[in-house]
Symmetry: C2
Subunit: 125 residues, 2 copies
Amino acid sequence: LYHPKVIDHYTHPRNVGSLDKKALNVGTGLVGAPACGDVMRLQIQVNDDTGIIENVKFKTFGCGSAIASSSYMTEMVKGMSVNDAFLIKNTQIAKELSLPPVKLHCSMLAEDAIKAAINDYKSKR
Amino acid sequence: LYHPKVIDHYTHPRNVGSLDKKALNVGTGLVGAPACGDVMRLQIQVNDDTGIIENVKFKTFGCGSAIASSSYMTEMVKGMSVNDAFLIKNTQIAKELSLPPVKLHCSMLAEDAIKAAINDYKSKR
Ligand code: FES
């Protein structure tokens, strides 16, 4: 039913946890999926000089595909500039993980979350 | 956001796993939730003489509410007769776990799964 990469990220999710919400170089994105009611929180810690994402953590109450999408997303954005990370599309994630169409909204949750985290970081500066 | 009971079952789900699908006293229910595309498998092992559910296991790729609903459901049905278990309503589960309305379909997945497992067990006899 699911691609081995999804199972891998689901059973061993990367970068689960929290960063200090109040730190000036931390951006927090909290988003919801209207399709299913699930929520995701994604946080990035940015180097203010270089704009590079140095740390990233997420937490979700969402399904296996949401966990896999966000886990994969955190691996992608670590070491990336916030400007590049802002351009990530959920379709890249869905393709890499071979998500079925009914699960596209779960990868959308990951895209929305990184965008919201970047916006929050930028609004603090 | 979520009731402590949901968090408890989500972080320490009870009765996760599998039973021997081919055993004559094991019923397997595999059901899906149209609302989100998630699936759940629930298996019961029944004492043929008494009709009592002696063991129960589940697996799901679903969200936190689906995991909590089915984990709670497995605790309910262990030691119950198949006839009583067939009458469990998802609203009982949703109420016990204080699920928000948008998550009612996750508790429905648990109700559908136990009914399907009981039907499968009965069809084997
Ligand atoms: S079904 Fe809700 S995030 Fe996947």
